[in-house]
């Protein structure tokens, strides 16, 4: 009996290790490639372990401060997009979930419709609008453009989450004298915290990875986000694979860190919901 239990635990641990390995391997391989010389990269045998004597690839990538600047810009744009998307998405989701108004179905459809248009089709008209309102070549312009794409997803996620909150809670609060904003902020928001965290992760990632608007709307080198900066390592005639891998790795780490941070809230929120009443 004990032996069977041990085998079961071992099998599960092995399965977890395999899944973990599959998830981590691409990141690990980027790290190994960044530390591999050109000769070894195309040599007869594959280097499985990183060559730590070549760690200077990372210090060289960070040396001129350009990469730090790109990452800072990316963080500002992604954080700004996340905050704005959530700030606008919460009342929008609430309105779509709880209120009946003329054109509600059209608004819902329009939100879905925006997700079907590729950025490439919108970049030209948006460029013209941004130019008119002097929003080109600025991080806040980029935040607005990215929010326009993230907001529909955020609003629909939050609408779905609010739909799941019993209307009785709203009515009880209204009987106690609360107005709709109070109901939203004091009653509903704490209950949909996990959904807000999930929506925030989506908004953050979409802005962090965004390239088309960033490369077209921002001309100033010092304002470029990392998605554009990394692409700059691909040259017409020559490309440094190691530099791309090193900077690519640095580019992914803050996003992963944010995900891990937000995931905690997603999980804790879900747990909190599970033990209620």
């Amino acid at each position: 009996m004990m032996r069977r239990l041990h085998l079961g635990v071992t099998a599960r641990m092995l399965a977890v290790l395999v899944v973990l390995g599959l998830a981590i391997f691409p990141v690990y391989w980027m790290f190994v490639t960044a530390l591999t010389s050109d000769q070894d990269l195309f040599g007869p045998s594959i280097n499985v372990l990183p060559d730590f004597s070549r760690l200077n690839v990372f210090s060289e990538a960070l040396a001129d401060g350009q990469v730090v600047g790109w990452l800072t810009n990316s963080f500002v744009v992604a954080a700004g997009t996340t905050v704005l998307s959530i700030a606008l998405g919460v009342p929008l989701g609430y309105a779509l979930s709880r209120f009946g108004f003329r054109g509600k179905a059209t608004v819902g459809l329009a939100l879905l419709f925006t997700q079907m248009l590729p950025e490439a089709l919108l970049v030209v008209p948006l460029f013209a609008v941004f130019r008119r309102f002097d929003l080109l070549n600025s991080l806040h312009g980029l935040i607005l453009a990215d929010t326009a794409f993230a907001l529909p997803v955020v609003a629909l996620i939050l609408k779905g989450a609010i739909d799941g909150v019993p209307r009785d809670l709203d009515e009880a609060a209204r009987v106690d004298g609360s107005n709709p904003p109070t109901v939203l902020f004091r009653i509903i928001l704490p209950l949909i915290a996990p959904a807000i965290a999930a929506a925030a992760v989506i908004a953050f990632f979409s802005a962090w990875n965004e390239y088309v608007f960033a490369v077209t709307f921002v001309f100033d080198k010092s304002l470029q986000p990392a998605s554009v900066g990394v692409a700059g390592f691909i040259g017409e005639q020559d490309t440094s694979i190691q530099s791309i891998m090193a900077v690519g790795l640095l580019f992914t780490l803050p996003a992963v860190a944010f995900y891990l941070f937000a995931q905690r809230y997603v999980v804790s929120g879900m747990t909190a919901g599970a033990v209620k009443g």
Partner: protein, 419 residues
């Protein structure tokens, strides 16, 4: 890896088409500016994909710095636009009434921009005879009777080969095939070329040599000839090499060029601009360049003009830089930076360059037979025709149809496009 060139390439192929429409959308017109002829104090931007090249970028930047130090009126700054989406990004910005003041375009994007009135005409500003501009490539910079640029770089396509792996360059296509097969052993490949949709522009450059080399052309100047027997023959030769398993399939240019620099690829067809990059990637590599061993002495050339954005508020300043770079002294320096490419005016190779690259005269001779990679007579539609052709050719490469069917389909689609 966060950067996804595949998806982006598809995205931007759509973008390239709509970019030109932006001119109409924003009602853009050439900006108001001082056109006195003498530059006013200004900081202008210069966008060139070569500025991002590890091999040539620093040399070009040095040249720009030299210009900036030569006077106190104009400052030229490098505009940072990543190579993978360079043409489309700059076209979108220009179509939207913005964009860099100076641009080094490749020919398909140059043709599109010129036909869309996005470029400043230089008719009364550049005197070709006085400047002794090389007539062959220069003639392509006149669109509808107007000059829109001057040659910044003209790079002929030749056959690069590793002399340690291939002591003697093949002289015929059969020898080329045999050499590629014989060199492919273990982790070494006889040949490399682009063969993925993600590198659409690069595939176009590669197949251009096969089409021209076997006597074909994409048009006769007035009518598209994508399905002509000679075009199909050239593309079938390209497919023959693909099917012979002598190339690292799936490898992109960045990867197989590194492989070439590290002795893992025997031959590749590439332009003279690649010489500097190869040397910089591996100074010890024992390589040479010879004429592409196809029956016809015709091959693609990477012609890249420098142009002034019609939206620029500092056209005189931009022109000042162009006139400076056209001076004989600067032309020699530019040529040194660009490696085996030629520039706008005839220049002599230095003894040092010839010692370093003994094959330079061979590459220079190819200027006479070099053809810029546009569809003759359909310059502005080249990018769209390119997308159609590359998609069909790659589908044939992957065994979904034979090359004849592929090119017949391409012909039909392209005819619809240009109608």
């Amino acid at each position: 890896m966060p950067f996804r060139p595949n998806r982006r390439a598809k995205t931007f192929s759509v973008l390239a088409t709509v970019a030109v429409g932006a001119t109409v959308l924003v009602g853009c017109s050439p900006s108001q500016e001082n056109n006195s002829g003498s530059p006013q104090p200004a900081t202008i931007t210069f966008a060139a994909s070569t500025l991002g090249d590890p091999g040539r970028g620093p040399g070009l930047q040095k040249l720009i710095d030299e210009y900036n130090a030569s006077q106190s009126t104009v400052t030229v700054q490098a505009a940072s636009v990543p190579y993978p989406t360079f043409g489309q990004t700059v076209l979108t910005q220009m179509g939207g009434g913005e964009g860099p003041d100076l641009v080094r375009f490749d020919m398909p994007e140059f043709s599109t921009a010129a036909a869309s009135a996005l470029l400043e005409p230089l008719d009364d500003k550049i005197d070709a005879s006085k400047l002794n501009l090389i007539a062959g490539p220069d003639k392509y910079l006149n669109v509808d009777g107007h000059r829109y640029g001057v040659v910044f770089e003209n790079s002929n396509y030749g056959m690069f080969y590793n002399k340690d792996l291939i002591p003697e360059a093949p002289k015929t296509f059969d020898e080329f095939m045999q050499t590629a097969k014989a060199t492919t052993k273990g982790d070494v490949y006889g040949l490399a070329f682009r063969q993925t949709q993600a590198e659409e522009a690069g595939v176009w450059q590669d197949i251009y040599n096969y089409v021209l080399g076997f006597g074909g052309d994409w048009s006769d100047g007035g009518k598209l000839t994508l399905d002509s027997p000679k075009v199909i023959e050239g593309l079938e030769k390209y497919k023959e090499l693909y099917d012979a398993n002598v190339i690292p399939k799936g490898a992109d240019a960045a990867t197989f060029r590194k492989m070439f620099a590290n002795g893992k690829v025997g031959m590749e067809l590439n332009n003279g601009g690649y010489v500097t990059a190869t040397k910089s990637a591996n100074p010890a590599l024992n390589f040479s360049v010879a004429r592409i061993p196809f029956p016809e002495k015709k091959q693609g050339s990477l012609l890249a003009p420098i142009v002034i954005n019609a939206n620029s508020k500092h056209k005189d300043a931009a022109l000042d830089f162009i006139q400076w770079i056209l001076k004989p002294e600067q032309q020699v320096k530019l040529q040194e930076v660009l490696g085996a490419s030629s520039v706008a005016t005839p220049t002599e190779r230095s003894a040092e360059s010839l010692e370093k690259y003994p094959f330079l005269p061979e590459l220079d001779k190819l200027t006479e037979s070099g053809v810029p990679q546009i569809v003759n007579g359909f310059g502005p539609q080249t990018a769209d025709i390119r997308r159609i052709v590359v998609t069909e050719v790659l589908s044939s490469l992957q065994g979904q149809q034979d090359m004849k069917t592929a090119m017949e389909k391409a012909q039909k689609q392209a005819e619809e496009l240009v109608r």
